[in-house]
């Protein structure tokens, strides 16, 4: 991979929560336009891993470079966060703002767009995620699936270079999962660089370039989806796949 093509580069990253070694020697490179799916049992450190990428979690040892910015440079963090979208499991929409206001808030105040520009961009994105008729609604007036689509549009409105997703569909009722996954598949096909923590293996099969399996804070296995699902090398991966694919 050439120097320009690297978007996220972990080298020997270690993190502790007190005595708990939550990230152990993580080395991982995500190229521009690549889609990486991260899976693993609860508590294995998946959230912590992607939260490091936009500096939501600090780490003690190692190096992490995102879009050319070294994360140890805390002063560059804010500028970096403008380029990295983050979608949370629990949506975290601003309850006191309408869907459109949620989407335009950061572009106006952080990017410095005019209200008109931001709204034009925001409207287009809400249309794109299928919520053209919901712009004036407050989050509590929307279903979970709709809220998560607004949250994705909110991140996209900053025109980020990387999108991070932390279990974006696991708080949703089953019938709403696909409407969110469809948006994410579209995004992946447009060439967005994505790191996605999810157990939706259908999504991984469709668009992932690589699937990563984590356990106890370490990356156990990394493989393209075909290999990952049909011929996993490690027993722990097989074990895990057995558990999640059988229901």
């Amino acid at each position: 991979m050439g120097q320009q093509a690297r978007m996220i580069e972990f080298s020997g990253v270690n993190k502790w929560f007190g005595p708990l070694h939550v990230l152990q020697d993580i080395s991982l490179t995500v190229g521009k336009g690549e889609v990486v799916v991260v899976c693993g049992p609860s508590g294995s450190g998946k959230s912590t891993l992607i939260r490091c990428v936009n500096g939501l979690e600090p780490f003690e040892k190692g190096r992490l470079v995102v879009d050319g910015t070294d994360l140890s440079n805390r002063r560059a963090l804010r500028a970096l966060r403008m380029e990295v979208g983050f979608v949370f499991q629990s949506f975290n929409l601003y309850p006191h703002k309408t869907a459109l206001e949620n989407v335009t808030l950061a572009p106006i105040h952080v990017r410095g767009l005019s209200r008109a520009e931001a709204e034009a961009r925001g409207r287009a994105l809400l249309e794109k995620v299928g919520l053209g008729d919901r712009m004036g609604n407050y989050p509590h007036q929307l279903s979970g699936g709709q809220q998560q689509r607004v949250a994705i549009a909110r991140s996209l409105c900053m025109q980020p270079k990387v999108m991070l997703f932390d279990e974006p569909t696991s708080a949703l009722d089953p019938e709403m999962i696909n409407e969110v996954l469809d948006v994410m598949v579209g995004l992946a096909r447009e060439g967005m660089t994505m790191m996605v923590v999810t157990h939706e293996m259908g999504f991984a099969r469709k668009v992932a370039d690589r699937v990563i399996f984590m356990d106890h804070g370490a990356i156990v296995e990394t493989a393209p989806p075909e290999t990952f699902f049909t011929a996993p090398v490690h027993a722990r991966t097989r074990d895990f796949l057995g558990k999640i694919l059988h229901h």
Partner: protein, 220 residues
Amino acid sequence: MFWFYAERILGYWPVLLKGLGMTLGLSLLSLLIGAAIGFAFGIIRAGGNRWLSRALGIYIDLFRGTPFLVQVFIVFFILPAAGIELSAFAAGVVALSNLAACFIGEIVAAGLKAVPQGQREAALASGMTPAQQMRLVLMPQALRIVTPSLVGQFVLLIKDSSVVSAIGLLDLTRAGWMIVQSVPQGLMVFGTVGLGYFLICYPLIHLSRRLERRGQDALL
């Protein structure tokens, strides 16, 4: 008999009006100053700097845990010994603003702490500065939660202001003391004074209740 005294009390209307004006002015001015400082207190108390927050917590508890009358005396009688000479009005405003700031600070801090952590994270992840996170995301939500309590606090402030009559300010309570010298009908005189306070406070109590109901609807 009743009407006789009632007329005499109302004959003192200029004093009563002046007292009412003083009570209102003192309360309003102290509310404005106290709110400005109180919001800053609240942000510090709910903020990340543990030592600053703790130190401020002790300061606030000190004033929440001592009688207001004592605080007024300290400002008015003891500060001059340290070379800070204040008029009775200034001393009243200082003591009352400080008390208001302490209570408002704790209310605002509670509101900020009640905003889910995910809200700050979402704002942070979008590249907002700490000030923007506070102004655009956290404070508006905290305000929604605490507005009824803040209005309720204003009611307490108006009532607490009666204590400053002890250092000679002609507020509504002191007007009562003056009138009762020549109209020896304590019940009627202070009934009138009480009515004055009630007339100011009742709309606020009402407002607080309405906001509380609306808040519950909005937080669905």
